[in-house]
């Protein structure tokens, strides 16, 4: 029933480049597809689905950031701001022009890509720390601009209300409809990234990451590809922003502040840089962390803290655990959750004859 590899028998380039080279992978992907697309929306209650929706949105953003940080090795602490660019672009399109989602989502992405590429321009001259600080500046400047320029922010409280997206004339109001809507974009993001990384552009990204000088010598236009990385990554961020806006029903710059940039960076690092599964694991982990922390504390926290303190304790404990985990992963397992998964997979790949 299950095929096992016993060697490399590929005879054509097409087979070598196949997205899913092993039949096992195809079975696994099909099973996961059925589980997440058919069973999950039927079996889960409203609350679980809303948590799953949050995870799906985070997955899109984390995959996008991974293109920049994991594959091209450029740092960005400004992704939260790029998300807000996408969110506000889409919100204006939706409220003023009544744009449907299939215009609003790509438009938000494209606007974010434009801004992201602009921010990426200094990456020609500066790298590492300087780039980190430049993107940090971009984050703060974009935040300030949205907050203070009223034709961007849409007036009061800098927030714009947005109705639910409608697909084929049906308004997506319930959690499971939203779930399938978001799942569509997650699958697009995963497949798109897989194909991007195997293409000429993706190979150029990886070459720049591994040795930028050597990449330039073999004829890769570094400046152009760094800008591409920024633009593509910001496109994903913009789409994430639009999806957040649809999910929350409101575009608000407070949803996209510096801590959002940082938690997306944390997803990519905790999950594992430079892999497709890594950011998915990271997004799940970082999204669930505050929810699980709150759940655990609400049930057993009463043993350690007075009930009145508990509401104050939870956010600070969440911060502390979040920071501690980032440091822990960096020191103990720099390749992240993806590495742990690969260890498990490689063990079972040859099990029970692992010699």
């Amino acid at each position: 029933m299950f095929y096992r590899e016993s060697g490399v028998f590929k005879t054509s380039y097409a087979a070598d480049m196949a997205l899913m080279p092993l039949p096992n992978t195809r079975w696994a992907v099909a099973a996961l597809g059925v589980l997440f697309i058919v069973i999950a929306p039927l079996a889960c209650d409203e609350y679980t689905l809303s948590v799953l929706n949050l995870i799906l949105i985070a997955v899109v953003g984390a995959i996008g950031l991974n293109i920049l940080v994991g594959y091209t090795d450029q740092v960005s602490i400004g992704h939260g701001a790029f998300m807000s660019v996408g969110a506000y672009t889409a919100a204006h399109l939706i409220t003023q022009l009544h744009a449907p989602f299939w215009i609003a989502v790509p438009a938000g992405g494209l606007m974010a890509a434009l801004i992201g590429a602009l921010v990426g321009i200094p990456s020609l001259r500066i790298k590492g720390l300087y780039l980190a600080i430049a993107t940090l500046a971009a984050q703060l400047i974009i935040e300030w601009t949205i907050n203070h320029v009223s034709w961007v922010s849409g007036g009061t409280q800098a927030s714009i209300q947005v109705g639910p997206p409608s697909v084929f004339g049906t308004e997506l109001t319930s959690a499971w409809q939203m779930y399938l809507f978001l799942m569509f974009f997650v699958i697009l993001a995963i497949v798109g990234t897989q194909n991007l990384i195997r293409s000429r552009i993706g190979r150029a990204f990886i070459a720049i990451r591994d040795q930028d000088i050597a990449a330039e010598i073999i004829g890769i236009n570094i400046f152009r590809y760094k800008l591409w990385a920024f633009a593509i990554s910001s496109f994903y961020a913009g789409v994430t922003g639009v999806l957040y806006t649809y999910y929350l029903g409101i575009a608000n710059y407070e949803q996209f502040q510096l801590d959002v940039s940082i938690s997306f960076l944390a997803m990519v690092i905790i999950g594992g840089l430079g892999s497709t599964l890594g950011p998915i694991f990271g997004a799940i982990f970082v999204t669930l962390l505050p929810i699980v922390t709150r759940r655990v504390l609400e049930s057993v926290g009463g043993l350690f803290f007075a009930a009145s303190d508990l509401s104050a304790v939870i956010p600070s404990l969440r911060l502390a655990i979040f920071g501690g985990l980032i440091i822990f992963f960096l020191v103990m397992e720099p390749e992240g959750l993806n590495r742990l998964w690969r260890n498990v997979r490689n063990y079972f790949r040859t099990w029970p004859f692992s010699y």
Partner: protein, 298 residues
Amino acid sequence: MPELDLNFTLLLISSGLMIGLMYALIALGFVLVYKATDAINFAQGEFVMFAAIMAAAALGANLPFWLAAAIALGGMIAFCFGLERVVLRKLLGRPVISVIMATIGLASLIRGVATLVFGAGVRAINLPISDEPLFLGPVMLPPVQLVGAGVSLVFLAGFTWFFLKTRMGVAMRAVADNQTVSMGMGINVQRYFALAWALTGVVSALGGVIWGAMLGVDNQLPLVGLKVFPVVILGGLDSIIGAVVGGLIVGVVEALAAGYLDPLVGGGTKDFAPYVLMILVLMIRPYGIFGRRRIERV
């Protein structure tokens, strides 16, 4: 546009200069670590808050001021030694984003633990000086700022002397310049890495007491740390004199922006103007005014 009033401008510039010196003190902590170990500390603001909380807690227990300051100082030195040993030593030779992320994680860890242990309320640090502002002609000088600026000046001069004249300072400069050659010359590089972090602890403790006295100690205090980046980029990442000049520029720019631009655009330019200035510097002269020019053509 508000009328250009000479007295008002003088007031803004003088307070900007004093705030700038205090920024320089915090930026110095960043520069010390970057110079010696090439590590980037995104948690500088949290270091300052941590020190301020320790001092405030000690003062809250009715300890005399000098003892509270000493506790903050000792606590920060111990903390930084430990940090270097447990976390940063393991990250040597890793890509730059690892260290950035580690300090970002550290920032959130400190913020979380500090509010867990000491509570989230605002505490005060009362310096043993009067609150009466001094008047120098038309210019009003709050004593807190004056003391802060004075302490900053003394320590900035002290560190300059340390790096130029003492054996340890020269060794630290050697480590910053070339680690391999320093090892060859018999300098214990690891020890000087630890020393650099400890010096950052000293600077952060001072900054914590001063900034805590000026702004009050709560979880808004780390926002001061965000000002470090414009300061060090302006001045040059590896230059002490650059930290001072950058601090002064940022202080004055910020005060002028708050005085003249805020009424026009409705607030917030204080935090915004230094970053615009910084972006300009990054575009034109990324190594800053006094930084060492490293040629990297990719």
